[in-house]
């Protein structure tokens, strides 16, 4: 009886779990009464939960193995791709989406518009990291450093030289791109885990520098009174400037999607994907590995820098605490959840991962836990992401016609 075997397996796993969690879940020292409290009910809970979760997983896995038709290729992502494939439907779909995006702030409160601005910032950040991680396959855990570079560029330029949002935006983006190249050079030879560790270190170095180099960055107290973007010299009320920032972000998102899409279908985009697939073969086919990697780092960082400027303008106050490792993890989760290398996927991933915690406030305490769980579950059940990439197609029809 296979089901009995599964139950036995789940039982064993549950006992194991109870045993492992025993010291923290069951034993509790009471320092006042000098006694030990035994919380046996916790042990029962742990055991029961792990038993049912384990059993469900095993049964589901068996079911999947017996029904290969339900395999990963047969998915909901294909629905969106089908719409995007058909040029008429695509135009209608994108038109409706755009109209909804434009109308949204007029129906929503400025609190909700503000949340949406944050979500859109993460869409662009995700698309930027998608170049580095999704396309070029370079696992970057310090992406938030470039976000910080952009934000501090604007804050400091405004503080010392009185530069405005629009002057700082290109400067912040370009400085971040420069930072990307600076990070890129020493890590050119590293791959996988090693690369991840070095980039993680880079992110922390930037944050610690901002925290401790008080004369430069005003340390942990941060920089306040950063102006929101002006509209041709007019002074805007708070609601108006939120509205304005929202529309700026809509334009940025469209521009980013346009550019990233074009990059993907280009010589350099193909080189990134080839680099991800097989670095050795990639070089042996004549691709300059260094140039390609540096381009990926620089372009990814470019978007992060630009978004840093927008973030500083949106919150009008920044300090190093906004640029912790958790930010990098969120952005990486967006890319993994959406689908590595998939532009539509990353957009959806960003909206889900930013909007869900905002609306499920109760969950926000457990954010890290939820991200961990999401990533683990995705790795098990859907390693290709929510909306995986599709194969690029090239206009071969025109070519076959002029066959000699």
């Amino acid at each position: 009886m296979p089901i009995l075997a599964e139950i036995r397996f789940a039982l064993r796993a549950a006992l194991w779990f109870v045993f492992l969690t025993f010291p923290i879940m069951v034993i509790k020292a009471d320092p006042i009464g000098q006694t030990v409290i035994w919380r046996w009910r916790n042990a029962v809970w742990v055991g029961a939960c792990s038993f049912f979760v384990c059993l469900a997983l095993r049964l589901w896995k068996n079911y999947r193995a017996k029904h290969p038709a339900l395999g990963p290729s047969n998915d909901g992502g294909s629905f969106i791709h089908r719409i995007l494939d058909h040029s008429g439907q695509r135009r209608a779909f994108l038109g409706i989406l755009l109209a909804a995006a434009i109308l949204f702030p007029f129906f929503a409160s400025s609190y909700q518009t503000n949340i949406m601005i944050t979500a859109l910032i993460y869409v662009v950040l995700g698309l930027g990291l998608n170049i580095v991680v999704g396309m070029a396959g370079l696992l970057d855990l310090g992406f938030v450093a470039f976000y910080a570079i952009g934000a501090y560029t604007y804050a400091l330029l405004h503080l010392h030289f009185g530069l405005g949002f629009w002057q700082s935006l290109p400067l912040g983006a370009c400085l971040a791109a420069l930072g990307g190249i600076c990070l890129g050079f020493p890590v050119l030879r590293l791959r996988g885990d090693y690369l991840a560790i070095v980039t993680l270190g880079f992110g922390e170095i930037i944050r610690l520098a901002l925290e401790n180099w008080g004369e430069f960055s005003q340390g942990p107290s941060g920089i306040a009174n950063i102006p929101r973007p002006g509209f041709f010299g007019m002074t805007l009320s708070l609601d108006q400037s939120i509205l304005f920032l929202y529309f700026i972000m809509i334009v940025f998102v469209i521009a980013t999607i346009f550019v990233v899409n074009r990059l993907r279908d280009s010589r350099i985009g193909r080189a990134w994907i080839a680099l991800r697939e097989d670095e050795i073969a990639c070089q042996a086919m004549g691709i300059d590995k260094q140039k390609t990697k540096l381009a990926a780092f620089a372009l990814g960082a470019f978007w992060a820098g630009g978004m840093g400027v927008v973030f500083a303008a949106k919150t009008t106050f920044i300090n190093p605490a906004s640029f912790t490792f958790l930010e990098s993890v969120i952005i990486l989760s967006i890319v993994v959840l959406g689908g590595m290398g998939s532009i539509v996927g990353v957009v959806c991933g960003a909206l889900i991962l930013v909007l869900l915690p905002e609306y499920l406030r109760a969950l926000s305490e457990y954010r890290m836990l939820a991200f961990g769980a999401i990533l683990v579950l995705m790795m098990i059940f859907r390693p290709q992401g929510l909306i995986p990439t599709i194969k690029s197609r090239y206009p071969l029809e025109n070519l076959t016609d002029d066959r000699p």
């Binding site: 990059l263 280009s266 010589r267 080189a271 070089q283 004549g286």
Partner: protein
């Protein structure tokens, strides 16, 4: 033999204490098909890795004299620079870009013959459009040449083994090499696929590209190559036309060493 395209002299490669190449000399002429054979571990793949810049040789010289270009030393160059100079290879253990389409795999080969970079990709000026069209067209023509045109839109890792080997050849050809290095192209192929492969290699040679191939399938080697080099323990032990190699006692000894010992 006319002016040699590739001239390797006294090439050495040592890994710590292992001497994988102990002074190898080799020449390939224009449009020639040359085979490189030898028992397992003789250093054949290591030689390819040195030629293509994956390893930096510890000694000796490699000169490539591609038609229409100045002769140049290849030792110490980066792999991508060597491809630009006109040397391309396939791999003994297939190394395709699995999650890219068959067509895109070949398009990667065209990378080094194109120029457009970031700005070109974003703004797509007419020059870039022309270049992209040219890349697609030439790549598709190569797929037709190796008989994979019908699979252009499939992922490379979904192809059969023999088809993957042919795709590797097409990808290497896309770099417009003067000399093509094939590392065991017939390994794992069935007899019919091997016949097709023979025809393909002959076609490549007829188109004016020289071929240097490593192969264990003696029938293929004997029927295809104009000259054969035999290596053992990192050294060249024989060189000559197929008939002479077949009769060479040193070669027979290298391949059938144990039998020789038993007789002694």
């Amino acid at each position: 033999m006319s002016q040699p395209i590739l001239q390797v002299s006294a090439l050495r490669m040592t890994f710590g204490g292992v001497q994988a190449l102990a002074g190898v000399d080799l020449e390939v002429g224009e449009g020639e098909i040359v085979a490189l054979i030898g028992p397992n571990g003789a250093g054949k793949t290591t030689l390819f890795n040195c030629l293509t810049g994956m390893y930096t040789p510890t000694g000796g010289d490699i000169i490539l004299n591609a038609p229409g270009k100045k002769p140049c030393h290849l030792n110490g160059l980066k792999p991508n620079k060597i491809v630009e100079r006109g040397l391309a290879r396939t791999f003994q253990n297939i190394r395709l870009f699995g999650r890219m389409t068959v067509l895109e795999n070949v398009m990667i080969g065209r990378h080094c013959r194109a120029k457009s970079f970031i700005l070109g990709a974003i703004f797509r000026p007419p020059a870039t459009r022309r270049e992209e069209r040219d890349i697609t067209m030439k790549s598709f023509a190569l797929l037709r040449k190796v008989g994979l045109a019908d699979f252009a839109g499939e992922f490379a890792d979904s192809l059969s083994y023999g088809a993957q080997r042919r795709l590797e050849i097409a990808r290497a050809l896309a770099t417009e090499p003067a000399l093509l290095l094939l590392d065991e192209p017939a390994a794992g192929m069935n007899p019919r696929e091997t016949v097709e492969l023979t025809r393909l290699i002959q076609q490549i040679s007829a188109d004016g590209q020289a071929v240097l191939l490593i192969e264990h399938d003696m029938k293929l080697v004997m029927s295809l190559s104009q000259r054969i080099y035999v290596m053992d323990y990192g050294k060249r032990i024989a060189c000559g036309p197929p008939a002479a190699i077949r009769a060479n006692p040193a070669v027979i000894k290298a391949y059938l060493g144990e039998e020789d010992d038993a007789a002694a």
